[in-house]
Symmetry: D2
Amino acid sequence: MVIVMAPEATQQDIEAIVGLVSRAGGDAFVSRGVNRTIIGLVGDIARFMNLNLGGMSGVAEVMRVSTPYKLVSRDHHPERSTVRVGNVPIGPGTITLIAGPCAVETPDQTLAAARMAQAAGATLLRGGAYKPRTSPYAFQGLGEAGLRILADVRAETGLPIVTEVVDAHDVELVASYADMLQVGTRNAQNFGLLQAVGSVGKPVMLKRGMSATIEEWLMAAEYIAQRGNLEIVLCERGIRTFETATRNTLDISAVPVVQRLAHLPVIVDPSHSGGRRDLVLPLTRAAIAVGADGVIIDVHPTPEQALCDGPQALVDGDLDELGRIVRELPPLMGRTLATGLTPVA
Amino acid sequence: MVIVMAPEATQQDIEAIVGLVSRAGGDAFVSRGVNRTIIGLVGDIARFMNLNLGGMSGVAEVMRVSTPYKLVSRDHHPERSTVRVGNVPIGPGTITLIAGPCAVETPDQTLAAARMAQAAGATLLRGGAYKPRTSPYAFQGLGEAGLRILADVRAETGLPIVTEVVDAHDVELVASYADMLQVGTRNAQNFGLLQAVGSVGKPVMLKRGMSATIEEWLMAAEYIAQRGNLEIVLCERGIRTFETATRNTLDISAVPVVQRLAHLPVIVDPSHSGGRRDLVLPLTRAAIAVGADGVIIDVHPTPEQALCDGPQALVDGDLDELGRIVRELPPLMGRTLATGLTPVA
Amino acid sequence: MVIVMAPEATQQDIEAIVGLVSRAGGDAFVSRGVNRTIIGLVGDIARFMNLNLGGMSGVAEVMRVSTPYKLVSRDHHPERSTVRVGNVPIGPGTITLIAGPCAVETPDQTLAAARMAQAAGATLLRGGAYKPRTSPYAFQGLGEAGLRILADVRAETGLPIVTEVVDAHDVELVASYADMLQVGTRNAQNFGLLQAVGSVGKPVMLKRGMSATIEEWLMAAEYIAQRGNLEIVLCERGIRTFETATRNTLDISAVPVVQRLAHLPVIVDPSHSGGRRDLVLPLTRAAIAVGADGVIIDVHPTPEQALCDGPQALVDGDLDELGRIVRELPPLMGRTLATGLTPVA
Amino acid sequence: MVIVMAPEATQQDIEAIVGLVSRAGGDAFVSRGVNRTIIGLVGDIARFMNLNLGGMSGVAEVMRVSTPYKLVSRDHHPERSTVRVGNVPIGPGTITLIAGPCAVETPDQTLAAARMAQAAGATLLRGGAYKPRTSPYAFQGLGEAGLRILADVRAETGLPIVTEVVDAHDVELVASYADMLQVGTRNAQNFGLLQAVGSVGKPVMLKRGMSATIEEWLMAAEYIAQRGNLEIVLCERGIRTFETATRNTLDISAVPVVQRLAHLPVIVDPSHSGGRRDLVLPLTRAAIAVGADGVIIDVHPTPEQALCDGPQALVDGDLDELGRIVRELPPLMGRTLATGLTPVA
């Protein structure tokens, strides 16, 4: 941490900071310039952050130097991690295709979407039973009935299930069905939910908040990690910007940036970022080429009847091309398409 | 709603839409242009939104014309509403000053802050017992112990309490102490929480999500209203933009824009929007002048020791000027400073 | 300036930087921490910025501490400046109302708008002869014919003229008619134009670029100042954000922030920021209340016939209220409405 | 175009619009709903845009349906275009690698960078002689001396030159040296410059404005096209968002979105978008994979001595990998690396 003093700061102000830092077990190095004095702090940043240094007399600015997240940081864990969902790996050597319907609507629709996903090369099934919707008048998901449908489709296809949980108090219920819990963009700073999914012992997919900086995203992951769960996969799904041609702006650069800062796998959601079917395959190619560890894609047997996000779901006619992409592109990146289905009972 | 067809849309595509709308109880008016056909829909927009019209063959774009929120809209409720917290009104004829510490830390600190607030003209006390923090290593609030402190300070000062709730399952507990429940910016799309505060029978202050459009903010209010609670006060607290000189960018224009769209009172938080003490008084003046129905301000007896947001809290030396502003500016707007303390028992 | 070294930086890397800084006439103070070393630089920041320190081996981050603009900074010029346009002051003791049509269309329209402006209390006339338009098919302004109309209206009314220049090579021509040159938001980083208006000896109004940070805005002003012209008025006119309810988001906080950093006057454009007539008066009140040194407002005798930005122009019915605002609000801020008309010949 | 009337609009308001549109040679179709009336306009949108329909009494909103750009639109020119710079194509069948130094500094540095570029597979040389810089104290480029160096390096290597022009009055001079003129992000709405490069008969590379919507970017291209020049290549270079981990946010989705709307080639600048060397190769792969028609990349023999943007330039050690990417990835996209050097005299 670096503290920049205001030009008018007094010697007493400087000494007050040095004393405070030293009482907190840190060291403070003072550099006096012509106009300003700079104080470099060495020690435990988490303790310093609780000191309210910015509120001290004479302080102009407090600049952080080291990262405020510890458990997810690559600083102390330089190897990139692989997270396993059932037998399916998500990590540096593979590309994992997760696909399925945005929302679970009926057993037939879910099974048909799962078969589509599998045909394209997917080894994990996505599907929402709890849908956070901007409008209270929109379809909110089937709840536990949806989870049961997902479990039936898993039994039929062998595909482990990734599904969203939106409330801390549903975490145990959802975890009793799901193989991986998803935390969505609107809950990216719902800290109670983050702590709950951190405690339940299932892998978690954490979507980036639509206006979360990369640092805030990693801090959200730290909330999960702090409860003892490091089986976290980060998912870039587009951020909010001034551009309205796409639903969100896919921040493709975030993939290599995050992979450098954190050891967790990073995947991309090309369906929700663009919000348009015609962008899904180009963005899938971009995601694999930039180095993502996987992609998560909406597919639907009859998107014109979908109760949620139909306009972005891939249809039957797109699956061959999707299959070609996830098989031909990974080798150029030194990777292979992830396999590892759970044997169907 | 207006549906714009793609240039290549067929007569069959158009008829399919007309049929679908008509089966949903609506009317569809078809305007054929040289390049494109436009279909105007008349009827219940909530039903149309579930039709997935954007996914129909031949559709280029679906544009909404009327508002998707009903209960909070001024369309059917042209008079602007007044919400009462204890005996204190928040609404069109008054300016209500809500002030207090960002976080409840100790009984002494909370009482001192409440006395500061009162001295400046505040008739409602703010203070957080549950603090959603970006970092899991930061102070998270005192929880129920903090609520008890607030209740004691209310008994001492007569100031009704506004305090944040961050989890749906704490709503009843918090409501048993608080006079008004606050939903914070990070929970602006935590729909379970919105529904819970909508059901508990206490006034609610709904902060704008830091990346919420005005429409999304009003939809969040609609979630509360739908559970039978129209005692909602909206609070503009800054949005996330590219500018980093301030913590957030106060969207001052949102105040008159929202007042035109919704009948609910709108207040401004000049403390959290700027994140800097030196901006609080100028932004308070701007908020009153633009027509806000109140302001909510952080004060702290010793901000250099604050566990949360000390750098933005007003101190003793600022209170005279704050008092002058909230007394002298409202009459120019045809308003008066809201009073109405609950008698101290 | 502070240089943060990467954890893997070597002693040799550190020495290379110390040597480079010292050869550039600066001092480098080295603070060694457990994980990282921090180097504080003291000396001429402009020279350091050309050293490409960020490209040196072992450097993780370069953080600026002092401001990169010198001439417009308040550091060495603590008194806030007053700029005079004709006899009209723009500065800390007054509120200056600048009003007129967005575009000069005809002599009658311009004179009528000038009379409207004057009736409301304006002492400077705005009006565009060169209009930068997003579409090449939109009205682009009358050019020099428009300047002649403005000069005629000045002769008739005594109002000094503020008008935009969009090309470096028109600066002399426009300056031969205008009392103040305006540089618009789309030219906020047209550095050749900034240098040209800095050399011509007329006051300049510099609008903020629609995506310019406050620092970039002040650097643009520095380009003008560097050519010897400190008669610069900064104009906040809204920034681009995700919100679409208003054309731009008025960054009202920028007014006090900039007034603290720079000694130049700061005014607000409530017409272009919101892009809606119904927001102009509320935003004018907010601008004066936050401490702006003036406002610039579109008025038009028949906005439904305006060739540019009609929907945001005030009309006759708004003028009484505008006049009331600019007369009653300034005294609360310890200011008066600026007067000082040039005598009509 | 669709006009949405306010709920309180009168029959007279509606008739006024129908009359106005009809006098402008268009047709107006009126759809009356329960709450609102919608008027669909058919005819010449450019004429309608000058009517100020938004300013008419009773109008709530004006929504455009067809595109406001004509010459660059794919509506009337469905085949995607190929632009030739010297003998080098930029278009749908190829990937073109443009590389070179950010700024021309010396003959040796420029030649060395050109050799690096060529070694990696580049067939066009980039290099700036006029550098628009945020700070007036930063290196501004060598001007015509830089153009002469570029011409010498072209003679030596056979690489046609792409170089930026920043002022309308330099266009002829720059065009006398350059094979392709670049318009930079800060000049994306410098309409005089756009018109000048549209008139000079050389291909143009138009960078996206850092806060330009896709529509504004295409309107800027329309300014060039309107002067008779359709040899335009669009370059996505990142937009400004709240994220600060990268200098800009590369809007990778813009590539397929623009290719669908306009017939012009679209390339990507992975150097300026990220501003970090470690992101250049991942973003280059993403750009090719998403379907870009080329990439433009900074290379520098000694980036730690660069006068501009050294931290993002590729160095010798990166060239093999760059060469591998631009040779191996295009075939997966059904493309080949563009060749076509001009024979060295």
